[in-house]
Symmetry: C2
Subunit: 181 residues, 2 copies
């Protein structure tokens, strides 16, 4: 299940001149024990650590996230929230893509070998060394639509990932507009 033991993580780090620290071990463990399909922002991770009684600074959280993304242990995702999210990277996890509701941030994962193949082929065709490929689909989920998407312009409305902040809260007067979760 978990591809990295303390020892293998240490080896991996040392090979590149990095060091294994309790903080790094703890952070990796959080990801390893995270329910499949979850992804954390730096802030999320920091919260979880605090809740577990760990006192790891936010700076260290950010640094570790970067390091592990750099090493390929974590995968960095740009979803719809304006900050990055991280999850265990393939091949430890199945490679997958995301369908995101820009209104409520619900995200659905799905796999597609076809997309992966297209990504690989495209990278090859251009002589690129492939690092990652992500299909991200932005849309409005059924629930959000029911809440009246087509009739209101909610506070945090986005289009194409864009958080739309209209000037005042005066868009209430707008004929089509709703609230947001």
């Amino acid at each position: 299940m978990s591809p990295h033991t303390s020892a293998s993580l240490k080896a991996l780090l040392n090979k590149r001149g990095f060091r294994l620290t309790p903080q790094r071990q703890t952070i990796l463990y959080v990801f390893q024990t995270l329910p499949q399909g979850n992804h954390l922002s730096a802030e999320d991770l920091h919260q979880i650590l605090r809740r577990q009684g760990e006192r790891i600074s936010l700076s260290t959280v950010y640094r570790t996230l970067h390091l592990m993304a750099y090493m390929g242990i974590l995968r960095e995702l740009e979803l719809a929230e304006g900050h990055k999210h991280y999850e265990l990277n393939s091949p430890y996890t199945e490679h997958h893509h995301h369908l995101v509701c820009v209104q409520c941030n619900q995200t659905i994962e799905f796999k597609s070998d076809l997309i992966d193949r297209i990504g690989t082929r495209q990278a090859e065709a251009e002589g690129y060394h492939l690092l990652d490929c992500q299909l991200t689909i932005y849309g409005i989920c059924p629930e959000a639509m029911q809440r009246g998407w087509s009739r209101t312009l909610p506070e945090g409305w986005r289009c194409s990932q864009s958080q739309q902040r209209l000037q005042r809260s005066d868009r209430d007067s707008d004929s089509d507009m709703a609230s947001r979760g």
Copy 2:
């Protein structure tokens, strides 16, 4: 060529209670006259406007970008640089995807009906109202690799879109770097 005349833009805006202003018209015009395949950050756009003698504030640039993304006139892209980029949105422009070098930010566009179809199908399957779908492939371009990617950890190195800022510049001593799942 350009799908929006002043009049059609005005109509589009007014329909939703927005107004046509010289600033908005100017900004749209910049996008309409941009060489195909280019995409601008807010800062880029602001530069271009200054260079053209237009004096449009950065706030207005951001606001306009949001508004137009919201209205579907512009498409918002998350490439590798840490800030968003915008381009004219389909159907005015061919819908396409991006291959990005995480080291030098070179981006290559490519089309794929297959991907678009998969995106549409996936959104439909979940009952989503589709807004956009983007396959973004991250990798290292041939030139960057030649510049010795595998032997050094350059200043702006990223993995999975992540700008990797290692603590000192001391990672030069590193020996092997090229491998990654």
